[in-house]
Amino acid sequence: DVKVTQSSRYLVKRTGEKVFLECVQDMDHENMFWYRQDPGLGLRLIYFSYDVKMKEKGDIPEGYSVSREKKERFSLILESASTNQTSMYLCASRPDGINYEQYFGPGTRLTVT
């Protein structure tokens, strides 16, 4: 079974802190994604990566950066957390090919106070 894990289910941080959200997948998938989910706004893509050290901006990259130093790990970084980044963050991975589904992690609910 494909497994996508996220470092925390719940996280509380203060405004201005640097925040790291980690995602690890164990199925050698080329592609990894970070989404943000807010009530009424559905899933919004922040960044995705199609290979190690490769990344592309999604729909809402402002205020975020990412790192993919190893194939299995994709990190989302909030350089200086703000209250409007309070949200549910979902990581996903997917093999190459438009026929494959995305596999999701359990999500991290981040609160910035």
Partner: protein, 115 residues
């Protein structure tokens, strides 16, 4: 322009009722894939089904069934004899070569099944 539309934002039904969740998509590709996901209150998205553009057969899996109609660009999901455990947000998604490895997700439909 939104590529995947789920017009129903929220639906409430009483247990044992049948319910259909609508999904309408837009694409110019002839080869594409459609997906349904379930997101229960725990938060993790669970994959339910994949359908490719060349296979218009309906699919049934237990109480779940899917109706794919290319003529209307729709891929609707029906739950028969709904149960409380079906309460979740359901997302429809489109995968096509234009978007590379990305999905286009619909906005989701929140289904509440009341006892």
């Amino acid at each position: 322009a939104q590529k995947v539309t789920q017009a129903q934002t929220e639906i409430s039904v009483v247990e044992k009722e049948d319910v259909t969740l609508d999904c309408v998509y837009e694409t110019r590709d002839t080869t594409y894939y459609l997906f349904w996901y379930k997101q229960p209150p725990s938060g993790e998205l669970v994959f339910l089904i994949r359908r490719n553009s060349f296979d218009e057969q309906n699919e049934i899996s237990g109480r779940y069934s899917w109706n794919f109609q290319k003529s209307t660009s729709s891929f609707n999901f029906t739950i028969t004899a709904s149960q409380v455990v079906d309460s979740a947000v359901y997302f429809c998604a489109l995968s096509e070569s234009l978007y590379g490895q990305n999905f286009v997700f619909g906005p989701g439909t929140r289904l509440s099944v009341l006892p």
